[in-house]
Amino acid sequence: MSAKSPAQGDSRWPKDRLVLRSRRVRDEHLAAVLRGEEFLLFDGAMGTQLQARGLAAGELPELLCLTNPAEIREVHASYVSAGAEVVTTNTFGANAAKLGDAASVEHVFSAAVACAREAGARYVAADLGPTGQLLEPMGPLPFDDAYDLFAEQVRAADAAGADLFVIETMTDLAEAKAALLAVRENSDLPAFVTMTFGEDGRTFLGTTPEAAAVTLSSLGADAVGINCGLGPAAVAPLVKRMLPWASCPVMAQANAGLPHVVDGVTTYDVGPEEYAAAVADMLDAGVTVFGGCCGTTPEHISRERELLTGRMPAARHVHDSFAVSSAQAICSLDYGQVGVIGERINPTGKRLMKEALRSGDHDYVMNMAIEQGRAGAQILDVNAGLPEIDERAVMCQLVSELQGVSTLPLQIDAADPAVIEAAVRSYPGKALVNSTNGKAQTMADVLPIVKHYGCAVVGLTLDEDGIPATAEGRLAVARKIVRECEQLGIPRHDVVIDCLTMAASTDQTQPKAILDAIRLVKQELPGVRTVLGVSNVSFGLPFRPLVNGTFLAAAFSAGLDLAIINPCLTRMMDVVDSWRVLSGEDESAQYFVANYAERSDRSPAQALPVEKAAASSAAASAVTPATPAEPADPAARARELVLAGRKGPMPEVVAQVIAEHDPMYAINEVLIPALDVVGERFEKGVFFLPQLMASAEAAKAGFETIKAAVDASGQGDNVPEKGSIVVCTVHGDIHDIGKNIVRMLLENYGYNVIDLGRDVPPQVVVDAVVKDHVLLCGLSALMTATVPAMAETIELLRKEAPWCKVVVGGAVLNPEYAEMVGADFYAKDATETARIASEVLG
């Protein structure tokens, strides 16, 4: 389930000769195209032409390269005579996964390139379409497997004599990235990448044109653009949004409008003239590579040819803003704008975060991401640096899981270059790498990774001699870093210098030196951005937030671009928001007025951090008259809250229970008995599923309060461990609701639940069971098709972990099935699982 990454030291690209390596470009015209100085015209639709010639729906059109090459040649030749310079091979779905046993990738590509060549193409573009499977984390296909499928195609196409690659109809930025890396690392031919957008201006997976342009052009695409999905008039505004963000030529291959079925034949509604009019519009805007997609014909291409003849590419303006991107959206800063990087996903000095990373319970981390986003973070720092965990694996897992809960771009924060590379390789976007510094070795380790994966990078102003005491010394290090970046081809707007905050209490000259350094870097190295983690400045002083806020304001004034802070601290965001008014970034103070009109210093409650404010409002709502009459005894109230499924007031009420009794009383006499009642009610049908779960959720809030109290009092040993249970949905199955319900209930009963997620291979289950000598394993399957995977998992468990009992459940299972797959227990629902757990583990 977690993102796989290449094994340690197993880089797929030659770091030493990477940067100066040039593309193998067929001739001067193509070279001029890559520089954006000349136009290039691709061909039009292949599929539509084949259907018109009677290809049956559902057949693999790629096989025609082998079975009926004359037909394919004819279609190609018709586009060549229409004026197309590039012929796209008929290999859209020619990957090993789709071809299966029908043909080998090598054969198809070799036949397809030959067809294109024989048709008289000036350039042959090897076509790479999507794999057909969805990548992790939303789908089951690991990034590396997608990469391998593409790499096989790339090697075959290069060997067959293609002139360039066109990666097209991509809707998943991760998949586009896998394909582009596969080209970069297995060939030196140019690669053009186009993605497909819907009317809402996003791909099916939610990528915007800006995010595609920023990510793919940074990653070294030779052209980026849009194909398929929409007609030319709808593509035009989207491709124009790409133009300012692409540091390479931009291309457009629209459909001939929308398909209609007339007398059983699919036809498209945009004719050559109308198509050409929209192309003219894109041409004026600066698009330089054209062609057609579904429904276009040689006539469409011929009209485009006429349009291009005698024209020169229009002038383009490409932003030099700092920009990073997630799969969904970019975060960009123009000169004069300031940004916030959320610092909280970092275990350093944070007990709960440490615990969450150690135990692999990432709920805490995910909620931290959501909270920071709500509070105004624009980029999230992610650091998994704990000596006792596998930093590389945890980092990759966090990066993957964070994509599910946040659309903010990530700052990959690690000291080990191998960790950085593993994380940025499969990251579907343009990440900010934190960090390099001025040490020769560090730069040699980190900067090639930054360049190869098209990232932005933080450069710390320290080197072999430590942190310079003066502003000039820091500038000198910054200069060194920028020079090294530029030599590798990393542009200045991708370099962010951190002048390193030092404590004012140890050296009062430092704050000024830091501010001067920021000023100097911005002055002497125009284009470069600055970043600062501010909170160290107040180390050793009382009332630290005030000092931090003041220092942040001063740093903004000195020219700071990005602040690494805890955005959930109101005081810090107050400084950011008010600075944006003073700097003019918040135009007409619109945001400020909308959000601060009600604020004043008189009400201390409003100066509380977000979480506390939320807690106090929840506490307030607990006593509103709308709440039914509640018993005065806290223990009775806690029981009531569990039964009613209300988590809001729980922490406060449980705190009272603990104060009157003790933690064990709260667990054994209050929460567990209440949960037993809930379970009974569910059995009898008095409660239905969401009620069971809301009760479990309320109880969980209670358990968390108890745990925090016990931890704080140092009496952790008094709470007995109830044992661990591994749960997951079996390999091949992607439904996780049932498993999540079971997990919730088991956690409530005090078990340590090791949740491996969904689609989990048997060996991963066994490894987890063996690692902690776990006595009970719960497997869930929802589809008949995945029951064999369940049997396979159990068989492997019997062999390698014979001590472990297995309980199974899921929509398709029944007691007979459970016996058939070799399970020890069948559980029809979550409460049954909890009973079985108590039988096995006590």
Partner: protein, 235 residues
């Protein structure tokens, strides 16, 4: 045909039914959470569908005895006794795929990591929404059949009866559903986005017993394009 459907409500009682509701009394707090998740599902969901009609080209049995219905102009074959019965006498077959989109999938993923109560409710709402989307797509097929003077039965999906799941890849390919709707398949033939439906509808020269006797109870009622013309799909 690729279509988008305007669906602005989902049936609350159906959402509750998916969660095992049998009339339990619930707190206003839980009611509020259910309503909020239904609304969120409607706002995130993008109900879209693609369908085509293929003429029946022949019937028979494979070497192993499995009955098949062959369709003209596609490599899609309908296998099994369920299909033999469902398409008995059909002259054409409507083939459809619908989805409510990757946004819903992403939200389910987010909730599975952050709020498992909401995940259960949102999942039930999304299931209701995709079934509603399938109703809309089916209505288009019924209407297209009506234009040709044909009568529809009702939609039937791979995985039910003995209609093999292995139908999925060819069916999706025949509709170009990955390109048109973004539907992908796992190795185990599950669709992603998971809130997607594929199905086939039989089209006949005679009215079918399964046809709704009146428009009132018809699942396609809200999406029907025949009624406004003064006709019904019954003739």
């Amino acid at each position: 045909m690729v279509e988008s459907y305007a669906i602005d409500s989902i049936d609350r009682s159906e959402v509750l039914r998916y969660m095992g509701y049998t009339g339990q009394s619930m707190s206003s707090e839980l009611e509020g959470r259910i309503n909020a998740n239904m609304e969120r599902c409607l706002s995130i969901g993008v109900p879209r569908g693609v369908w085509r009609i293929f003429d029946v080209d022949g019937r028979g049995a494979k070497e192993d005895g499995t009955p098949f219905v062959r369709l003209a102009g596609t490599s899609l074959e309908l296998l099994g006794t369920s299909m033999q019965k469902h398409m008995d006498g059909a002259v054409a077959v409507g083939v459809m795929a619908v989805t409510v989109g990757m946004g819903v999938e992403r939200e389910l993923r987010r909730l599975s990591l952050t709020d498992r109560v909401a995940q259960v409710v949102f999942d039930a709402a999304a299931t209701t929404l995709v079934e509603r989307t399938a109703d809309a797509c089916e209505a288009s097929i019924v209407a297209a059949g009506h234009e040709r003077g044909l009568f529809a039965n009702f939609r039937f999906s791979p995985g039910y009866g003995d209609m093999p799941m292995a139908t999925q890849p060819v069916l999706l390919q025949a509709l170009d559903a990955q390109r048109q709707l973004g539907i992908t398949l796992t190795d185990t033939l599950l669709m992603v986005p998971t809130k997607s439906v594929t199905a086939v509808v039989g089209l006949f020269e005679t009215i079918q017993p399964s046809t709704h006797a009146s428009c009132a109870g018809c699942p396609c009622f809200d999406f029907c394009t025949i009624r406004p013309t003064g006709h019904t799909c019954r003739g």
